[in-house]
């Protein structure tokens, strides 16, 4: 090594008085890392481009997909088409999009063996935990916004903005329909954040990015399946996929928002339980790898 000795750390016999990182420093670091990852960029580009492709493909179908809500109007009404895409996205796309980041954000430190690198600095485990959680949630918000905007804009531009037939058979004027469609996409956020927290828990617990990403999607599909079964409807309010259907009430006349409120509570409970468990797990963990 070079003879540059000037950089050798100075002798410091004063008591340790080190600057401590501000609350936002770990968050800035997480965001910087996320921006450097191809995966995050690929997800955002996918969220931007795929809806356009889906819209074009569905619009070209001679028979509308009637078995999904609003599917029967999808080929000649842009609002119906964006709601059809919404229903489809809620099945597994939204959990997947958020899990790509949230399921990886803790486990990737295990994968790269970097826990010891970051935990030997002046940032506590709690600070890192919240920085990662906020980053994952922020990413969920952004990816949902991109997906929603891309879907709504492309379906309205490509298919059109005719008045929409609501779920009580009423006719909804185009301007109102646009507001309701946008609001419906926005109501996906609580449950999507619920899946983000679930992915975080699985990421912390499994220490394996593949599990962190795939398991929330699988669990989401199982919950979807269980929720669709007759006879076990008593557990529907506890499923994280139920809030994904709460937007239906916005298109009924009279409008009902009970499921939206219940969905908010369900999602918040899932978040609290998952984050609490993940936090305790991370705090108590012995970092032996890397």
């Amino acid at each position: 090594m070079s003879a540059t000795t000037t950089a050798a750390a100075p002798v410091d016999t004063s008591p340790a008085t080190r600057r401590h990182p501000g609350a936002l420093a770990p968050l800035r670091w997480e965001i910087r890392k996320l921006r450097a990852q191809y995966r995050a960029k690929a997800v955002l580009i996918g969220a931007l481009v795929l809806p356009v492709i889906v819209v074009v493909v569905i619009q070209g179908q001679s028979r509308p997909p009637k078995d999904t809500l609003f599917g029967r109007f999808a080929t000649d009404n842009g609002f119906a088409l964006s709601l059809l895409v919404l229903g489809f996205a809620a099945q597994w796309v939204l959990p997947l999009l958020t899990a790509v980041v949230a399921g990886d954000i803790f486990a990737s430190e295990d994968q790269h063996g970097t826990w010891k690198t970051v935990l030997t600095r002046s940032t506590s485990r709690a600070q890192l935990f919240w920085a990662k959680t906020l980053t994952a949630c922020g990413f969920a918000v952004i990816v949902l916004a991109v997906l929603a905007t891309s879907t709504i804009v492309s379906s309205v531009l490509i298919v059109g903005h005719q008045p929409l037939t609501g779920l009580s058979g009423q006719t909804i004027p185009a301007a109102e329909a646009l507001r309701l469609v946008a609001a419906s996409w926005a109501t996906m956020l609580p449950a999507m954040l619920g899946f983000t927290c679930l992915a975080i828990l699985l990421s912390v617990w499994s220490r394996n990015p593949a599990v962190g990403i795939a398991a929330p999607v699988v669990i989401g599909m199982v919950m979807q399946l269980v929720g669709a079964l007759g006879g076990v409807e008593a557990i529907r309010p506890f499923l994280l996929t139920t809030p994904f259907e709460a937007w239906h009430g916005l298109f009924a006349d009279p409008r009902f928002t009970g499921p939206l409120t219940e969905g908010l509570i369900t999602s918040a409970a899932w978040c609290a339980v998952c984050l609490g468990a993940a936090f305790v797990m991370l705090r108590r963990r012995d970092i032996t790898g890397g």
């Binding site: 540059t4 410091d12 450097a36 010891k116 030997t120 970092i287």
Partner: protein, 323 residues
């Protein structure tokens, strides 16, 4: 300030499942000294250092670093500490510079210009803007040193810093550690290499299976070192063996590989060799088996040698020292 201990670990114990990794060890490192923790792989060195950094929670015992403890100060314990455990790891998709910048963020900022100085110091300036994923082992090791010094630590903890480096890299790394030590930094170094510790350290703790096998200065260690062993091959080993009886200070035995093993003080070995030549026994080879400290290290850390040692008095002394 000199009475402040850089590290004061008392009665630290850690088990993983049924494996006792660290068993009630006590280590005190004074400010300003270069301290070695020596032991074979699996002796518990790394577990101890991980506990020092708070990566692992001890089952019992306390660890104070520069007068702070995890219980009272949380992550503040690490305020004056820098270093790495095993081989340093970084984010492969970021460049070396980005990695250091990020770690500086987690440190709460860094003195302007320090990052460049450190890259220069570890000779990584040219490669700093390449992704770490493409770095060699030695480059990552050097980046790890830079990342540790970025904290401007008063206690530098290095876990096997020369591990996996080529001979030139080992030489450079030792030179760097020495230079850092000379600047007044307290250095806690773990190693499985006696030479390294002997060259750099003032004090040493030798660990064996989670316990302390020796604790003291290098000078004290040297006095306890056994006489060097030599491997001797001659034209007539049988006569050579017979001649050995005239040299009571030496112990000469027949090696399974048909050579002789000569153990004893160096002057006596010389006299013996001269006697062999005088008796027309030619020397084919004469090689030193181990350095004295190496021999001692193996004695201290290898269970199987204990039974074959023929110096019970010294062993007892070792056991005393370990206490």
């Amino acid at each position: 300030m000199n009475d402040l201990l850089a590290v004061e670990a008392t009665g630290v114990t850690k088990t993983f499942g049924s494996v006792l990794a660290v068993d009630d060890i006590t280590i005190r490192v004074a400010a300003g000294e270069v301290y070695g923790v020596l032991g074979p792989n699996g002796a518990g060195k790394t577990t101890f250092l991980r506990m020092l950094f708070g990566l692992i929670r001890p089952d019992s015992g306390t660890i104070e670093v520069l007068g702070k403890s995890w219980g009272a100060d949380g992550v503040g314990v690490l305020d004056g500490v820098g270093g790495f455990i095993e081989s340093p790891r970084f984010y492969p998709y970021l460049t070396g510079r980005q990695n250091l910048e990020g770690l500086a963020l987690l440190d709460g900022g860094v003195r302007p210009g320090l990052l460049e100085e450190l890259l220069e110091l570890v000779e990584m300036t040219d490669r700093a803007d390449q992704k770490v994923g493409g770095y060699s082992y030695g480059m990552r090791q050097r980046l790890g040193v830079a990342a540790s010094l970025l904290r401007e630590p008063r206690l530098l903890v290095l876990d096997e810093p020369a591990n996996g480096l080529d001979p030139a890299g080992i030489r450079d790394m030792r030179a760097l550690v020495k230079r850092l030590a000379n600047s007044g930094l307290t250095v806690l170094l773990s190693s499985h290499d006696m030479d390294e510790v002997e060259e750099i350290c003032d004090n040493v703790t030798i660990m064996k299976r989670g316990t302390v096998a020796f604790h003291g200065t290098i000078a004290k260690l040297r006095t306890m070192a056994p006489d060097p062993g030599h491997l001797l091959a001659t034209t007539d080993d049988t006569r050579a063996l017979a001649l050995a009886e005239q040299h009571p200070a030496l112990r000469v035995t027949r090696d399974p590989e048909a050579a002789l093993v000569v153990t004893g003080p160096t002057p006596d070995v010389s006299a013996y060799v001269a006697a062999l030549v005088r008796n027309n026994i030619d020397l084919l080879t004469l090689t030193q088996t181990q350095t004295p400290l190496e021999a001692l290290f193996f004695m201290l850390t290898d269970d199987t040698t204990h039974q074959t040692l023929d110096r019970p008095a010294e062993l007892a002394e070792l056991a005393e020292a370990a206490r």
